[in-house]
Amino acid sequence: MDEITERKKGAVRAAFPHTVPVLTGYVFMGAAFGILLESRGYGPVWAFVMGLLIYAGSGQFVAVGIMAAGFDPLGAFLVTLMVNARHVFYGISMLERFKKFGKAKLYMIFSLTDETFALLLSTRPPAGMREENFHLTISILDHLYWVVGCVAGGVLGSALPINTLGIDFVMTALFVVIFLEQWKRKQNRTPALIGLGASIVCRLVFGPDWFILSCMAVLIVIFGLFKKPIEREVGR
């Protein structure tokens, strides 16, 4: 028992430094969500439940708008599908890595947000620590930050009567920063440019409601057609 507790503490100590950027981002974004949700009449308890069970940044922001518009189960399903369709691509990237997770695999899949995905791809455990324990700890910590942020925002929202118009820009800013971070590595630039070009064209051609799904299809076609030159550049 003591040995297991000790090992868990070690995993938290090793994982925590890697999660600090997500800690700051999630508490801030989660709070923005909690405030937004509160402004639509759903308090901290709702922020807690949604943060814990949905656990999706952009998905939850969009959910607030749908909840405010009234009871619409089909709309909720379709919009969530469109907003979170990109997670299918994350799953594809994690097929191999998650094989060794055993019982925790289901939780790893559930908690696969944009930011956790990025951390799992980019971090390695210290010598002597199992990668599964290390990465599971990262996933749990990120989830915890998000829930704390959501609840804090819900509490703060009811305490401070402030104008929240424009607070959803925090998402845009976060993705701009992630984009710039990926841009630093030269081999990421071709896929990044393809993604940028495809999404702008799809937004203009297919309109705001259909562009994510059309863009995903276009991306698969482009990456399929130019597989050889892209693989040469990105590396196998």
Binding site: I66, G166, I167, P208
Partner: protein, 109 residues
């Protein structure tokens, strides 16, 4: 909406989100080798998707109408400039968001 209706809505959001995350694992189970093309997609897609997410956030910006997306453009440039100079993502994100909120609340009303 009644409380029960709201609970149903949250359950749908949660189940659908989990479904999108689990779909790849259902389609390509651990017991069988993953098709090579899927493995290749898994490597290049994350970078394309980040750009898609930026455009996704801006999808409802009316470029043709006043103020022609100016608050979005200014705030994004601010985020990029702060991030590239200070290397502090939180400061860049916070400053950009506050600047955007001030612009849409006070400047471009």
């Amino acid at each position: 909406m009644t409380t029960l209706q709201a609970v149903i809505m949250v359950a749908i959001f949660a189940a659908t989100t989990f479904g999108t995350r689990a779909l790849a694992f259902v389609l390509f189970p651990a017991g069988r080798p993953t098709p090579k093309f899927v493995v290749y997609l898994g490597r290049v897609l994350p970078y394309a998707i980040t750009a898609m997410l930026v455009v996704y956030c801006l999808k409802n910006t009316a470029i043709l109408a006043n103020p022609h997306g100016a608050p979005e453009l200014i705030a994004i440039l601010l985020v990029a400039a702060l991030y590239l100079t200070l290397k502090q993502s939180l400061i860049a994100i916070a400053a950009g968001t506050v600047a955007y909120m001030l612009m849409v609340q006070l400047l471009f009303v």
